[in-house]
Amino acid sequence: MSASSAVSEALRIEAIHKAFGSFVALRSIDLTVEKGELVCFLGPSGCGKTTLLRIIAGLETQTSGRVIQNGRDVSNDPPSVRDYGIVFQSYALFPNLTIRDNVAYGLVNRRKARAEVDARVSELLTLVGLPDAGPKYPSQMSGGQQQRVALARALATSPSLLLLDEPLSALDAKERERLRGEIRALQRRLRVTTVMVTHDQEEALSMADRVVVMNQGVIEQIGSPLAVYERPTTPFVADFLGKVNVLDAECIGGGRYRVGQREITTDANGAAPGEKVRLYLRPEDRILSDTAPVETLPNALKGTVRRVDFLGTYCLARVDVDGFEGQRMTLYLSLNQTHELGVSEGATIPFALRGERVRVFPRSV
């Protein structure tokens, strides 16, 4: 590792392994977080993401492996000597202390002058948009406001690392969306290195610089939100993020695959001819006849609409594709396309697949 990357590196996790009895929660996790970056651990419940966060915080002890923060090995340090602020799903605000005292909780302990503490508290409360909340008690505030107070408390001591454990999952949908933007903006402004755990993919994709997709104790993929969505490297990631069509196919060679009696041309050359594979393709990776005469495009297909699910601004059409021998596909249609193309049950719809978007994985997986 070069010296320059060590300088920009805030957190390094090396071969972290965690077992609870015979259950392995994490196996050989390696990860580096750059300074000022917001990294999201994303995965289904039980994938080990919260355990990993708690190991970084020192609230859980790893079975083996190392945690290196700002170049210092903190693997065996108790939480109280590590340098981080944390916000929990439950916020864990002290109910008997005012908002001011909650935010000042970590400051008072550092024997700072009262005026200095007060100035810092009002600075933080202004920062999170609650300048007048000081004398209130947590129970007098809404969930979203409590969340902001918890954030202010975690940031009060200017930690070099901010840990967020499912910080928005106790809020209702509207509030959650609003806070997503606020937290992200705050994090950018303070340039504080942040690790966030979530099971909500929208949250991860919209907030993170990099997403760490986890499953059953291992990291499946690390990448920018766009990369993990558009170029999943494992079937799990393709399946877990967004919706996906899975088609059984056989490799012909040269990026071409046979699905039923049809041939699909893709950019994926990984498989050997004759190999049984699965093609992963998102519902929106199709071209419809409103933008181009699709019959002349590569991977042109035709199908019969069996069902249309109306989902607000868009619809999902279940289509029996001619020549696919019963393998049904789901296609994404905007509400306007649904109307303009006359998509309804029983209608025939021509379309073309975007071959460059197809991901190919061996069928055994």
Binding site: F94, N109, S139, R153
Partner: protein, 572 residues
């Protein structure tokens, strides 16, 4: 790859972290050691001594064989089971009816009935026995009633069962009130939509919902009766039970080895009942989930009227029994000269040694209240909220629940055997106030511990993690957040210890010295001497003291919470 940027693993901890580490581990180790010395080792001594003769030579199971095959044992064991069985069979349905009326019907003055039912907790169990002697004894005002039931005398089984129902009733009611408190209204609505008759709703929804509470109440009442000492002592006559046999062996004949044997025998039904209760509770699923809609009873005229009549009768009997002892203590010569006098009180204080024992009891109860609340709450906190010392934690949990299965008499004998042993360096505690306080706290530790644990579990589990991340040691958060938030529970636990210390007799009857005699023991002494009036006076005095302290501490608690806990009101 180079790790040049990586500092060597932190070789030494900062001073703050070290003291925190010591405080967390130290608390756990101290709690473990205290439970070991004041609970487990004394009980272990029972096993050791039960297999020795008076000279300390090992005799294997000879003591057991000798005692268990004696006709005296067969009689006492049969009597004990009959007494406990009858008490249980009568108390639990009464308590269930009472709790059902309060939780599931629309009768007025529920708080009043509930408080009346709980009054006996403030009284030593001997009080009810004395009242029934006044009512049905040889000079009883209502002695003729016994004849209707073909009972010759109240002394013996009839009086014991009556007094024990009174003493155990509030404990059963509390358990059943809790188990009937929560119920999912949707179950009843679903039943209604299927046109289910009332009795079928009762047998298919209400009873199954309360069955764990019923089992628990049954076990508690049965265990109380099996190990009860005060009631048979006062009103048992010649009806021998195991609890009295123990007392005679140890106090009368100084036969500690046989006393240990009887103690272990007494432990058997208590441990079985405890095991049943625990296994049932473990199986109990949360019947009411966050999604449930709470059941609210709606008025049903006929049911509510009959429930009200039942509750009034039970409450009236409670008050009569309680009032009879108080009245009897004020009457010159019951039932011949009903003029009122304080003579019995004066006699108790001047000639019965109650001046000293009352002072001792107050001192002991205050210590139990303050020290017990502090130790129990701090112990529960260390157990639930700190990290490290993981090997000790299951051992502490197991020990904390043990007192629930150990009758006070058995604990008391264990204490004599352990602390009175000449080779024990803690021998100096024997005969002191300290040992009385320790035994009483240990005796009532389990339910106090559970109360504290429940309150702590209701707190956000991440408070300690947050303070650690803010570099605030956990004990500061304990003092600034945990204690203030749990203050009502801490005070409740203290009050529970105080009241029980005022009324308890079973463990301390073996442990008091002439200087440390207690007021509950004075009742036994006075009653043994035939001074029923002064005995009733002392019993009444205990109730009055407990009541005054309870009311005063509730008032003080209310004032304190209003002064210091603005955040509670803010929540509304």
């Amino acid at each position: 790859m180079s790790t040049a940027a990586t500092a060597p693993a932190a070789a030494k901890r900062p001073a703050g972290a070290l003291s925190e580490w010591l405080a967390a581990r130290g608390g756990i180790v101290m709690l473990f050691a205290a439970l070991l010395v004041f609970l487990t080792l004394p009980l272990a001594m029972l096993f050791v001594r039960s297999m020795q003769d008076k000279t300390g030579a090992g005799v294997g199971f000879d003591n057991f064989v000798g005692y268990l095959t004696s006709p005296a044992f067969a009689r006492s064991a049969g009597n004990t089971l009959t007494f406990a069985g009858l008490t249980t069979v009568l108390t639990v349905p009464l308590a269930f009816g009472f709790a059902y009326a309060i939780q599931r019907s629309c009768i007025p003055f529920k708080v009043l009935w509930r408080n009346i039912a709980l009054i006996p907790i403030l009284a030593p169990s001997m009080l009810a026995a004395l009242s029934f002697i006044y009512l049905f004894g040889n000079q009883g005002a209502l002695k003729f009633v016994l004849g209707w039931f073909g009972v010759a005398t109240v002394y013996g089984l009839p009086g014991m069962v009556l007094a024990m129902i009174f003493a155990s009733f509030p404990h059963a009611v509390m358990i059943l009130l809790a188990s009937l408190a929560l119920s999912d209204a949707r179950l009843y609505e679903a039943a209604d939509s299927l046109a289910t008759p009332e009795w079928r709703k009762f047998t298919t929804i209400t009873l199954p919902g309360a069955r764990y509470g019923l089992i628990s109440a049954t076990m508690v009442v049965f265990t109380m009766a099996v190990s009860e000492f005060g009631v048979p002592k006062v009103i048992g006559g010649n009806y021998s039970v195991l609890a009295i046999d123990i007392y005679k062996q140890v106090v009368g004949q100084q036969n500690f080895n046989i006393g240990a044997v009887v103690g272990l025998v007494l432990l058997v039904p208590a441990v079985i009942a405890y095991a049943i209760d625990r296994s049932v509770q473990r199986r109990q699923q949360a019947l009411v989930t966050a999604r449930s809609v709470l059941y609210q009873p709606r008025p049903v005229g006929a049911r509510d009227r009959s429930m009200l009549v039942f509750v009034i009768i039970v409450s009236a009997v409670m008050l009569v029994v309680m009032g009879m002892a108080a009245y009897g203590s004020l009457v010159r010569v019951w039932p011949y000269n009903l003029s009122l006098t304080l003579n019995h009180y004066i006699y108790a204080f001047e000639d019965g040694g109650v001046d000293r024992s009352y002072r001792n009891s107050m001192v002991m109860a205050l210590w139990c209240g303050v020290l017990g609340a502090a130790v129990t709450f701090a112990g529960a906190y260390w157990l639930e909220k700190t990290r490290g010392g993981d090997a000790f934690r299951p051992l502490i949990r197991a020990q904390a629940m043990m007192p629930m299965a150990v009758p006070g008499l058995v604990l008391g004998i264990g204490y004599i055997l352990f602390f009175n042993h000449p080779d024990n360096p803690l021998n100096f505690l024997y005969g002191t106030m300290t040992i009385l306080v320790a035994s009483t706290i240990v005796h009532f530790y389990s339910s106090s511990h559970l109360t504290a644990v429940t309150a702590l579990k209701a707190l956000d589990g991440e408070f300690e993690s947050v303070s650690a991340s803010l570099k605030v040691p956990f004990y500061k958060t304990f003092w600034r957040v945990t204690v203030p938030v749990c203050l009502p529970t801490v005070i409740d636990v203290g009050r529970y210890y105080f009241v029980n210390a005022m009324t308890t007799i079973s463990a301390v009857v073996f442990l008091y010295a002439p200087k440390t005699t207690l007021v509950s023991i004075s009742i036994v002494k006075l009653d043994e001497a035939g001074s029923v009036g002064p005995a009733a006076a002392v019993a009444t005095l205990i109730v009055a003291t407990s009541a005054v302290v309870t009311v005063a501490s509730l008032a003080a608690e209310g004032w304190l919470l209003r002064r210091t806990q603005a955040w509670r009101r803010a929540a509304q």
